[in-house]
Symmetry: C2
DNA sequence: GTGAAAGCGCTAACAG
DNA sequence: CTGTTAGCGCTTTCAC
């Protein structure tokens, strides 16, 4: 373990000068700088981030905390954000909570935040009330649909509007019995499934079509497997449907697979729309129509909000007001709709 | 900012006692412990990880460094590893390099390693020679096909064997002209495309079938889009083929999409096999046959190797020898093969 | 242009 | 069972 003082001794300068060289601060003579740099590489010195962090406060990292890394939506979000923060010379590190309320809260509250100069968190379960207690100096941007105290920056997608557009399209193009995979029967909380179901119901109300609660199908998880099973069951039960709104593209993938097994022609007999407009949609057979929630815009907005606070010390009116942004959704029609 | 000493003062104990309570160390009276805990929650105290890290050396985190987060293979690997390390009370953080040799080296060498108690790295580009220079106290496990100095733990998949099995199956079930999407014409380096191409050639040699170099199709990237384009071009060029070995499942997805557009029946006219056996394979239409590289076994092995070193201080014969494990691959046949 | 002193918040080691 | 001392490796401040 070679420390900064070792470099300083070997180069015949003080630790401070080494520090100045490393951090590119002005006020070091060209000759001294060169000597220090050579000594650094000769000794193989590497800065100790923990010490720097302890003393200077910054870590050079932005955290992204998501329920699950291997869901395409989060993976693609991570990728977008990573490219963005890297432009600022920071790097993104991703952590997963497993979608567990307790672990989400732990990830946010219990000091792990301090590992980062800024944090983006996409909570699934955690309640606004719990969040309200928290006070931290690390800039935090929330992303997603869960309600969040107004003291935090928040970037939301238009879940209700997106779902309404999708359902409207299905109804206007001739589907009368639209199943919603992952929908909710009740509407107590503002989580993703409830909000998207709300949009589904709004579309029905606007167009004067009754919702058959048998078509509102709850699933435990939004992976293809769960959706696949549920569609098969729906079919076996004899509940007819001629359109499907799947709450995520991943679920829609399972839907398409089930319909293919059942010998149902898409979109002729049943139309399908997903949500998220992930990279995979264009390569499914048939290509999946999907709600584009404004993924790029959301990522850009998150980065802006982060930049506004990272670097700005917690002084005076330096701290800007919290902002909530809602990004508008639009339909991306492909081959699973008419 | 409330520090440990603030808690200690408020509870009328010393900082050491607070530290003992927080870390669940024995030797604190029940009453004192309760008083400390109450004070902690009253003041909203949170441990400062940077300070703990600086002093105690451990960070509580394991790093996973991959080329890209949004490739399903890495996302699924991350998920598997995350669940594993969480069992040991650690948590996984994922960083991406973008598949850039320089950034890979930087991620490994430049002190960022110290952020973690252990690191798993899946390099794409970085050369063994560069790695050889490095000496670190953080336990590192390499994963993937790139050659790595023997001083490091390394878990490899059997790229050559898996590719050979896939190609053999295609040839034995009647395909005579098997295209390899993402293959290499030369065989200078031991990277993933070259190794899998080697297996492809071995299978041909064994079964006495000549390789038509026109069927060895290079791609810039292993995403569905690139594979899609390349297959369309292959078809337009009039180069006939009745089998496809795609170097990754993601590429295979693009292949299937292209074949569907071209009106080619799978597997009747063209058989297809992918590689990685990702979660998505079962939900494609038709279901994708794929090489299962032993994903679970690899993750388990990585975790074992990590555990062997994390916690073991760098003393004497405490440090175990480096181990290289090769996990065997097998075929998972589904609907894209006969 | 360079250096000395002090301390960030925590914990290992030992004393009581 | 609890407290004291010392110091992890860096950077901020101010003096030279």
């Amino acid at each position: 373990m070679v420390r900064m003082t070792d470099v300083a001794d070997a180069a015949g300068v003080s630790a401070m000068t080494v520090s100045n060289v490393i951090n590119g601060r002005p006020g070091v003579g060209a000759e001294t700088r060169l000597r220090v740099l050579r000594t650094i590489s000769r000794l193989g010195y590497q800065v100790n981030h923990a010490a720097r962090h302890l003393r200077a406060g910054r870590t050079g990292a932005v955290g992204l905390i998501v329920p699950d890394i291997d869901r395409p939506y989060y993976a693609q979000l991570a990728s977008r954000l990573a490219k963005g923060v890297e432009k600022s010379g920071l790097h993104l590190v991703v952590e997963r909570t497993g979608g567990d309320a307790e672990r989400e809260l732990e990830a946010i509250s219990f000091g792990r935040l301090r590992m980062y100069d800024g944090v983006v968190i996409s909570p699934l379960r955690v309640a606004a009330a719990d969040l309200d207690q928290l006070r931290f100096e690390t800039p935090v941007v929330f992303i997603g649909e869960r309600p969040v105290p107004a003291t935090f920056d928040h970037v939301m997608m238009d879940n209700v509007g997106g779902a309404r557009q999708a359902t409207e399209h299905l109804l206007r193009t001739g589907s009368r019995r639209v199943a919603i995979i992952g929908g909710r029967h009740d509407d107590h909380v503002d989580d993703m499934p409830s909000l998207r179901t709300r949009g589904y119901r709004q579309a029905h109300a606007e167009l004067g079509v009754d919702v058959d609660e048998q078509l509102v199908v709850e699933v435990e998880s939004f992976d293809p497997g769960s959706a696949f099973q549920v569609v098969k069951q729906l079919h076996e039960t004899g509940v007819g449907f001629d359109g499907v709104f799947a709450l995520t593209d991943a679920a829609a993938m399972g839907v398409l697979r089930a319909l293919a097994d059942l010998g149902v022609a898409v979109p002729r007999d049943v139309q399908v729309i997903g949500f998220d407009n992930g990279n995979e949609t264009e390569f499914l057979v048939p290509r999946l129509s999907s709600v584009e929630p404004g993924n790029d815009t959301m990522a850009d907005r998150v980065l802006e909000l982060l930049q506004r606070r990272v670097g700005a010390s917690g002084d005076e009116n330096e701290t800007p007001d919290a902002l909530t942004t809602v990004v508008t959704a639009r339909l991306e029609l492909r081959e699973t709709t008419r």
